[in-house]
Amino acid sequence: MLYCLIVCTSLTYAQRTAAVLERRGIPSAVVRTPSEYAVNGCGYSVRIQQRYIEGAGAALEEAGLSPVRIVTGLRSGQTGRGRP
């Protein structure tokens, strides 16, 4: 299964992102950002299954949330710990 990482500026921002996605029925998990994707050191991301990426993009845009970056095509071992 493929995953996406929505890389966020802060833990709070990641939590807000996850809350928006959950409200849209998109399962998500807040995870530590793997160092290769981090910006300026430690940070948090939101992990979702890749099949939700279009819906997620629309939900975030509607909520006025702009992630730092979105990394696609990741396998579970590349995305930090947590479900899903």
């Binding site: 500026t9 709070t12 807000r16 050191g41 710990r81």
Partner: protein
Amino acid sequence: MIYLDNAATTFTKPAEVYGAVAAAMKSMTSPGRGGYASAMRAADTVFRCRETAARLFGVTSPENVVFTMNATHALNIAVRSVVRPGMRVITTPWEHNSVLRPLRAAGADICPVRAELFHPDSALESFDEMTRRGAGCAVLCHVSNVFGCVLPLDEIAQVCRMRGIPLIVDASQSAGCEDIDMEALGARFIAMPGHKGLYGPQGTGLLLCGGDAEPLLYGGSGSASELETMPAFLPDMLEAGTHNVPGIAGLLAGLEYVLRRTPAAVRRHERELLRQTARGLSEIGGVTVYAPEDPARQTGCLSFTIGDMGSERAAEELGEMGIAVRAGLHCAPMAHRWAGTAPDGTVRVSVSDFSRRSDVAALVSAVRKLTKSKG
């Protein structure tokens, strides 16, 4: 003990608050410092607290809710972010030292409005007139911590919006029992303690941010760790160091209680108790009660004096009779100079949602006994 010093700290908390603090201490570590379960439990609790506060106070984004140690800490951040040396800052005569001292330290030109006690129209009129002459900022309390008088915040905020004056609100005595809507007010900052009307533990406070801010403390934030400067985004910019997670968990439980109960219901209950207090005390010869004819102009607390008996002595005697009230200047010296109760101050009675009619009746009875024994 009958506790009537809730304007300092509410003593009885909703049962859920005690449980939440204990559970957090047993199961949570520090948010933003790891991805393991106890850190993420802490992160969830902290975020839920931000969301709940945002919902209660009309804040558009949870990241604009910043955790502080208390209202004083929050006010220091707000003043530091806005006030510059020599800036003309409009206040009220009722300000607490948590407003006055940061303003003095920032070198502000402090200009209190001319307001009569319990006459909100006079405060608004004076505020309007003073801001016509220009002001860099307005910093004022919503409710006086000495007399409980309620300032016309909506109207004052409207004047600020019209004239482009940043507004900083000290909601120490109003959060939880008055309606506060950050977005509707357009305030730059609203500061409040967690341990009073929000029923959280001591050591908690909130700063609601409506604009740019400057850090007061510098240190680790768990984000942007490569940088030697604080992150440029809220809330991390203002939250250096480890969070008070047990306190925030308790505050969350307190906020949920207030949301369920509603500030309007709390306010009704407290006003009824204050009206009972004012009525009872004013029937005792030699007692001066500071209360308005219209109960809607007073919230949470009430001051009184007993003839020429010093306020400290009166409170001490009441303490010996098992009633906890506060005496003196209540950290608001200007309020007493303005109201004519300086230098001795007043005895302050302050209630909470957990105060009962029997508490107030016991106070009135004790004051009656005190005046008889001294007469």
